[in-house]
């Protein structure tokens, strides 16, 4: 009999052991602890935003069994990432992978440490893609979906794959980015989010200063614009970016930055951090007529 199966099993165990040294327990919510991954040896930990309910002290269980306390450095709800600073040094940093290795069909492991010991589950990469907007409007450099089952407490833990010289961490897993689908935040997006949070403590969000609700467009306009709904402005904050651009109460926003705006989600995803400060075109319907304005997107406090 060959040893393919037992070698595969040994290799899986080896990956869990190697990457598991960088997986910590994050005691950020009342009922069940979740997981996090060491970002730098001096105590920076990445985890999922939705598992950190407390803003102040967060208990962190290290791989060597020590419990230390950590502080929230910052969080980005749009990518479901939070950064913690643990009172620890000399932590094991995993090999964060560049995004040119993974392929659809590759075997991957999801690791977690909701209890004292590291836990693992296996799956394959289901889908890969380019830049992707999360439903909450965040930007990920790559779309990375797996079929790994996200067990309770696995959110914030690493997605691990085999590499030529050992284990690689492709990103961190989140059960909350897309409910019911295992999507990971890839390492290059983490890198951007972590740097921003370390520098500023927050991720900028775009701001227009309007209240809006979706409305059906009249038939003629709907046909002309190729969409059934737009966003009716029900309030416009004085001196806000929309007000300065000349937008008025009762205007219906139908297109922004050449993207259709049919509902709130589309508007929110157009207000991601990278658009703050930029001037974008806005097509509105006023008095039954379509017209074009330019708005400079502000920053939400």
């Amino acid at each position: 009999m060959s040893d393919v199966l037992s070698n595969l099993s040994k290799e899986l165990v080896g990956l869990v052991e190697a990457a598991g040294r960088s997986v910590v327990r994050v005691e950020g919510r009342r009922r069940l602890s979740a997981s996090g991954v060491v970002w730098s040896a001096d105590g920076i930990i990445v985890t999922a935003h939705h598992v950190v309910e407390h803003e102040q002290q967060v208990g962190i269980g290290l791989a060597d069994g020590h419990d230390v306390s950590g502080n929230l450095v910052g969080r980005d709800p749009t990518t479901d990432v939070a950064v913690l600073r643990a009172e620890a040094t000399g932590l094991a940093v995993p090999d964060w992978a560049a995004f040119d290795g993974p392929r659809v069909g590759h075997i991957v492991l999801a690791l977690g440490r909701p209890g004292q010991t590291v836990q693992a589950t296996m799956g394959i990469i289901s889908a890969l893609g380019g830049e992707w907007r999360t439903p909450a409007g965040g930007r990920l450099e790559h779309y990375l979906q797996t079929d790994v089952v996200m067990y309770p407490g696995f959110s914030g833990g690493p997605l691990v794959s085999a590499a030529a010289n050992g284990s690689q961490v492709l990103g961190i897993n989140s059960s909350a980015l897309v409910p019911g689908v295992s999507v990971a935040v890839p390492a290059d997006s983490l890198s951007r989010v972590v740097e921003t949070l370390l520098a500023h403590g927050r991720i900028q969000r775009g701001y227009l200063g309007v209240g809006a609700q979706p409305v059906l467009l009249p038939d003629g306009l709907a046909q002309q614009l190729g969409q059934d709904t737009g966003l009716l402005l029900v309030s416009v904050k004085a001196d806000g970016p929309a007000d300065k651009a000349g937008l008025l109460l009762g205007d219906i926003v139908v297109v922004m930055d050449e993207q259709p705006v049919r509902g709130m989600r589309e508007l929110q995803s157009l207000l991601a951090s990278d658009r703050v400060g930029t001037a974008v075109s806005v097509r509105i319907v006023r008095g039954g007529q379509a017209q074009e304005l330019t708005v400079v997107i502000g920053e939400r406090d």
Binding site: S2, S6, L8, S9, V16, L109, Q119
Partner: protein
């Protein structure tokens, strides 16, 4: 992958020779032949208190009696009048590691001798989100279904590491580790 499949074939064929079906009058469960003289291991919840019938891999259906059962650990030993049966090799359930490849056998929904594979999520006591966390369990990323109960959980060499016992949430199977079963058998022999 061809080699992998061939290796799986060998492991499963060998284990199937030790896999029995246990009919308790209400439904069926699985069991594993522990001793050639007809000692079979299963879950306590499979044997219940009713008359049992054990169907061997060669098709023989025999009446069985319960030798010992421990409802707390959900394990039971039953006996049939047979000899020279093939037995399962015992594995090391204390040395199981997260990520290790395992296979669960049984008769889910009455499909006899079915196999499902997964990896060890974790093992030991105090696993989060399991019932009776003070007890030792093997948590496996496998689809256990009614009819898997009492069946063997195997390592890559086809050695018995646990007895499939219950689900603890979607896609989490729990098995009683084989070292817990050994301790149960020792207690049963003494009393």
């Amino acid at each position: 992958m061809g080699d992998l499949n061939a290796e799986m074939d060998g492991v499963i064929e060998a284990a199937r020779r030790c896999l029995v079906e246990i009919d308790n009058g209400r439904g069926n469960g699985a069991g594993t032949i522990w001793h050639p003289d007809g000692l079979i291991l299963t879950n306590a919840h499979v044997v219940g208190r009713r008359r049992l019938q054990v169907t061997l891999p060669d098709g023989r259906a025999l009446q069985a009696r319960v030798l010992a059962a421990d409802a707390d650990y959900d394990v039971a030993a039953v006996a049939i009048n047979a000899g020279g049966l093939p037995t399962i090799e015992l594995g090391d359930s204390k040395g199981l590691q997260p990520g290790e490849w395992v296979m669960a056998m049984g008769h889910p929904w009455g499909v006899t001798g079915a196999v499902t594979a997964g990896v060890v999520i974790g093992s030991g006591a105090h696993l989060p989100e399991v019932p009776q966390p003070d007890r030792e369990w093997i948590a496996v990323s496998a689809h256990l279904r009614p009819g898997h109960s009492g069946g063997p959980l195997l390592d890559v060499h086809g050695r018995l590491v646990g007895v499939n016992t219950m689900m603890a949430g979607p896609e989490v199977g729990l098995a009683v580790p084989v070292h817990v079963i050994k301790a149960f058998l020792h207690r049963a022999v003494r009393s």
